[in-house]
């Protein structure tokens, strides 16, 4: 896209984009740290995730203010307008993901004193890594205005959903085996659900990138992988 005649306009848009990328980087780190702190029972790291969320929130506020200012002063149209609308929605989604990571970190603080459930911490971390990779690619797609990559991210949410389904069943099994696992499994399940929701939010952002470039929201349905709403008990779910 060529430059604006007013170079200050270009600088404004670039500045907002830089803030989004910075916020995205912080949220990526929050996801990975939240999962890692659970696996390594690292309460100090969990505490860092909780503290960093305040900074993420502050950047969202800054993005909202800059976007409002640009709308008021520059009256953006067409691609420029879509760029601003996209930024607002991406910032809101990133903020939500930050909240989910913070919630995971809180639960880590609770879980350190409880028995570990075999393999579930590592499975959660794998799921978190997948979401973090999706987020990274989504941010790249945003920066490069790359519809193909955004579409790829959108389709990958299916994998996250399947990981969540598998964990959901695993937790059910552990709880049925020994009721003393219930508290731990409940916390772990909320964490898995958090990561699954993060995946949905990344998917929404990827769709927003497609809208930014093409002017239209993708219509083609993607696979929905979260089947847990229909699981009654383990026998049926097999």
């Amino acid at each position: 896209m060529s430059q604006h005649i007013s170079s200050a306009y270009d600088r404004d848009l670039e500045h907002i984009q830089t803030l989004v990328m910075k916020m995205g980087g912080m949220v990526e780190a929050a996801i990975m740290s939240a999962a890692k702190s659970l696996e390594t029972r690292d309460t100090a790291l969990a505490e860092k995730v909780r503290a960093a969320d305040k900074q993420i929130d502050a950047i969202e506020l800054q993005i909202n203010e800059e976007a409002a200012r640009t709308i008021a002063l520059r009256a953006p149209v067409s691609k420029d307008l879509r760029a601003i609308l996209t930024v607002l929605r991406i910032a809101a989604s990133l903020e939500r993901i930050g909240d989910y990571a913070k919630n995971m970190a809180k639960r880590t603080g609770t879980l350190v004193d409880m028995p570990q459930i075999d393999g579930s911490d590592a499975a959660l971390r794998r799921m978190a890594r997948e979401v973090q990779a999706m987020l990274k690619d989504m941010l790249d797609a945003y920066l490069r205005r790359d519809v193909k990559l955004a579409e790829d991210v959108r389709q990958r949410d299916h994998e996250v959903d399947q990981m969540y389904n598998a964990l959901f069943r695993e937790f059910l099994t552990f709880m049925m085996e020994d009721p003393r696992n219930i508290t731990t499994c409940m916390h772990l399940h909320f964490m898995a659900k958090n990561v699954e929701r993060m995946g949905d939010l990344v998917t929404n952002m990827a769709e927003q990138v497609i809208y930014l470039v093409t002017g239209e929201m993708p219509e083609e349905a993607r696979q929905k992988g979260d089947k847990t709403s229909f699981i009654t008990d383990l026998d049926e779910s097999k």
Binding site: S2, Q3, I5, Y9, A75, V77, S78
Partner: protein, 258 residues
């Protein structure tokens, strides 16, 4: 460019070319404009939008070196046909210019001039009625009714422009052409004229040339983007300002180079 042909267009132009001496000002423009809508012509200076506008009421005839070819029809009738009287045509296709240009006469006479020469009123009472109706339509009646004999040039800029609009609509035209009607007006007067345009489109087909993209977005349902004598894109105003097809349109409306 997207096909915008329609059934029963008010104005239809096919293969219109305009030359000023050696300059090729309009290059093969094809467009159809519906009745009772506002159509905005936008584009950088010298793109041909005003030249094309002036083809619609044959204002270009008054310029010796200007040559118009192609086919322009209003309600299916060729306006460049030898039988058409340009003076009659201009009563049917009114025009408002960039700078308010009231005649150096009273407010009343400014509005009464057209109906008088076209014989639209049989007596004084009828003429009075046309003047009042036109001034009301132009949203100037309340400000002007107590000083109809005062000179039109004594009004403020915004009032003068509305007087010119009243003058243009006094001959009961079917089409109103406006060539940057607000560029000499302050924001309040501009808003009043825009409100007026919104009202006028119930009765006429309005075609407005404007340099203000925001104005085009505010007042029109259709927008045509001209560039270097070409009609680059013609579509719903919503579409032009949210997701135009042509990169040249995108660059222009978003204030970019290129």
């Amino acid at each position: 460019m997207k096909d915008n042909t329609m059934t029963n267009p008010k104005i239809s132009a096919k293969g219109v070319q305009v030359h000023y001496g050696d300059t090729h000002a309009i290059k093969d423009v094809n467009v159809e404009i519906a009745d009772k809508t506002v159509t905005a012509f936008i584009g950088p200076s010298g793109c041909g939008k005003s030249t094309f506008l002036r083809c619609i009421n044959r204002m270009n005839d008054t310029i010796d070196i200007c040559r118009v070819t192609g086919d322009i029809r209003i309600d299916g009738e060729d306006i460049y046909d030898a039988k058409v009287d340009p003076v009659q045509l201009r009563a049917k296709v009114g025009m408002v210019f960039q700078k308010p240009n009231p005649f150096p006469k009273s407010i009343y006479d400014n509005v009464a001039y057209g109906p008088k020469i076209h014989g639209l009123a049989r007596n004084k009472a009828e003429l009075d009625e046309i003047v009042e109706k036109s001034l009301r339509k132009a949203a100037l009646w309340n400000e002007a009714k107590d000083r109809l004999q005062a000179p039109g040039t004594g009004l403020s800029g915004g009032q003068q422009q509305r007087l010119c609009i009243a003058r243009a609509i006094a001959t009961a035209p079917e089409i109103l052409l406006m060539d940057e009607p607000c560029s000499a007006l302050d924001p309040i007067a501009t808003a009043q004229v825009e409100e007026l345009i919104d009202e006028l489109q119930k009765s006429f087909s309005v075609v407005i040339v404007t340099h203000s993209m925001q104005q085009a977005a505010r007042v029109s349902q259709k927008t045509a983007f001209f560039h270097l004598g070409n009609l680059v894109e013609f579509d719903d105003t919503d579409k032009i300002f949210t997701n135009p097809e042509d990169p040249r349109t995108e660059s222009y409306i978003s204030g970019r180079i290129g």
